[in-house]
């Protein structure tokens, strides 16, 4: 008997005034699993993420999180709060995704007050410190405004904030794309640690196949709003079946790689324009 997945999405569709951004997307993430969505820019990845966290409403399809139907954005404040304990998101831009006027402690405390209303001030403080430890921020950094922190540190705060509500799933929408390689490596390690320790699931959205390979178990490939290929990450990347996935895979620079125009032409063929 298989366990109920923490997140299941079926037949998800979203239109923006006639433009179909997401079209019939299905996937599920088992408890503690990690799924990647890869695909070219504009293929609808972020739209899927936004629908899953309730920032935009699907045109059709269902979203089930932790066994509860979450197909519509929350209507009441209470429902929102409950959803906050199921799915959280970390965005690409670590600066813009933090209120520039609040330090990490304030940011985390606000979330804790919302989700752990029964906790006293001291308990909350302890939890804030714990979260800070978890993402590797020291006390000074916890009290600094985002402006005074580096990109990696900011992204750590964003991750801590996502963790504060103790959700089952964290969506990482290009969360490491803006970071320098060395910092990106730190954050990727951190994400792996957290998953190990807390058993949280990830939905990773990325262009970067190296990152995908590093922290996900399963991968779906999206193109023009549809899923065109899926499977275990290692398989998909090692033996891409769809021509587009192959192109994607071959476009990643690596030692001894030579760029060719032919690659792109392959995908261009499918484009109407």
């Amino acid at each position: 008997m298989t366990e109920e997945p923490v997140l299941r999405v079926t037949g998800l569709r979203r239109e923006f005034g006639g433009v179909v951004a997401v079209d019939g997307v299905d996937f599920e993430i088992p408890r503690g699993g990690s799924l990647a969505i890869v695909g070219e820019s504009g293929s609808g990845k972020s739209t899927v993420a936004n629908m899953v966290v309730g920032l935009c409403a699907p045109t059709a399809g269902t979203i089930t999180a932790c066994g509860r139907d979450r197909s519509r954005p929350a209507r009441s404040a209470k429902e929102r709060r409950l959803r906050g304990r199921e799915v959280q998101i970390v965005f690409q831009d670590p600066y813009a995704s933090l209120d520039p006027r609040h330090c990490a402690e304030q940011t985390l405390d606000e979330v804790l007050r919302l989700h752990r209303a029964d906790d006293g001030k001291q308990q909350r403080q302890a939890r804030v410190a714990e979260l800070g430890d978890l993402v590797g921020l020291d006390a000074r950094q916890m009290r600094a405004r985002p402006r005074a922190l580096s990109g990696g540190q900011r992204q750590r705060i964003a991750i801590a904030r996502a963790l504060a509500a103790e959700p089952e799933v964290i969506i990482l929408d290009e969360s490491v794309a803006a970071l320098d390689v060395l910092v990106q490596a730190q954050v990727l390690n951190l994400l792996a640690d957290i998953r190990e320790r807390t058993g949280v699931s990830y939905l990773l959205i990325s262009h970067d196949l190296g990152v995908v390979r590093q922290i996900t178990d399963e991968t779906v490939v999206m193109r023009r709003g549809r899923i065109i290929e899926r499977g275990p990450t290692a398989d998909v990347l090692a033996h891409p079946r769809q021509p587009y996935t192959q192109v994607l895979r071959d476009s990643v620079p690596h030692a001894g790689w030579k760029p060719t125009r032919a690659l792109r032409a392959l995908t261009e063929g499918a484009q109407p324009s």
């Binding site: 936004n50 966290v53 309730g54 920032l55 929350a74 404040a77 929102r80 709060r81 409950l82 959803r83 906050g84 304990r85 799915v87 959280q88 998101i89 965005f91 690409q92 831009d93 813009a96 995704s97 933090l98 209120d99 520039p100 006027r101 609040h102 606000e110 979330v111 919302l114 989700h115 964003a158 904030r161 509500a165």
Partner: protein, 285 residues
């Protein structure tokens, strides 16, 4: 009357200038601070009763104890200028508070709610825009009679759409920021998000707009008083003094009009420069 409009609009196009010398900022801040102090303590500081008239001294120049001399009614000019600071600043300040409050609420509601609410509010704002402020001033003066009420209401009403428009842009930009989305995902209520995150983050913009608005409110207030629709003599008010002293300018007694006019210009210049700096800072955040 609606100079403020153009300025407010233009402010958005401004970008950080090479950091100018801070001396100017300090001088302006000092002037504005002094003006505010005068607004609070001016009437108390006045050496003579600003309304005590003695026609035998009408238009007499400076004498001992009366460094600026007397106005056409034989009242001490310095005392009137000092006492006038209060009405001259209080009215515009009230206008700024009202317009900022109204404009901010409208802007935030528009930006947050979007869709038809935004569209409706924008249309209402456009209608308000098209109303000539003079017309509003005249009508309000007719209904409310002379005094502070009419010009305050009118200018608050006239500035609100400008404030709303500028702040709506800022609020929309802010609303599109991921940190707001993150708050939503956390489950914070819309009201909380607006109050704790959105509004504080457009606050620098609000401060800048408020400051600039104050300068324009002072000018517009004075203009309304000048037309005889606002604060009425014998209340000492800089705008009124420019107006009542105006015949004197051609008669060779320009002191009342010019000193009051100078007070307005100096304070407005200082306020404008400060507002510009503030808005540069809020833009270059």
């Amino acid at each position: 009357m609606t100079i403020a409009a153009s300025v407010l609009d233009g402010v958005r196009t401004r970008r950080r200038r090479v950091a100018g010398n801070t001396v100017v900022v300090w001088v302006c801040a000092a002037i504005v601070g002094l003006a505010l102090l005068l607004a609070v303590f001016g009437p108390a500081l006045a050496p003579h009763d600003p309304d005590a008239a003695d026609l035998t001294y009408a238009n007499v120049g400076p004498v001992a104890g009366h460094p600026l001399g007397f106005d056409s009614q034989g009242r001490d000019l310095l005392s009137r200028l000092l006492a006038g600071a209060r009405t001259s600043m209080a009215g515009p300040a009230l206008v700024v508070v009202l317009a900022m409050a109204g404009g901010t609420v409208l802007a935030v509601v528009s930006a947050w709610a979007g869709r038809w609410i935004d569209a409706t509010l924008s249309a209402v704002m456009d209608v308000l825009f098209a109303f000539p402020a003079v017309l509003l001033a005249v009508l309000a003066a007719a209904v409310f009679g002379p005094g502070l009420t009419a010009p305050t209401l009118v200018l608050a009403l006239a500035y609100t759409p400008y404030v709303a428009r500028v702040l709506r842009g800022a609020a929309l930009r802010e609303r599109a920021q991921p940190y707001i989305a993150a708050c939503e995902v956390q489950g914070l209520s819309a009201f909380t998000i607006c109050l704790r995150h959105l509004v504080p983050n457009i606050a620098p913009m609000m401060a800048a707009q408020g400051t600039l608005l104050f300068g324009y409110a002072m000018v517009d207030f004075a203009a309304i008083s000048f037309m005889g629709l606002g604060v009425q003599p014998p209340t000492s008010d800089w705008g009124v003094m420019v107006s009542t002293g105006q015949p004197g300018v051609l008669q060779g007694y320009p002191a009342e009009s010019l000193t009051a006019g100078l007070c307005i210009v100096v304070v407005v210049v200082a306020v404008n420069l400060l507002g510009e700096r503030l808005s540069q800072r809020s833009e270059g955040r």
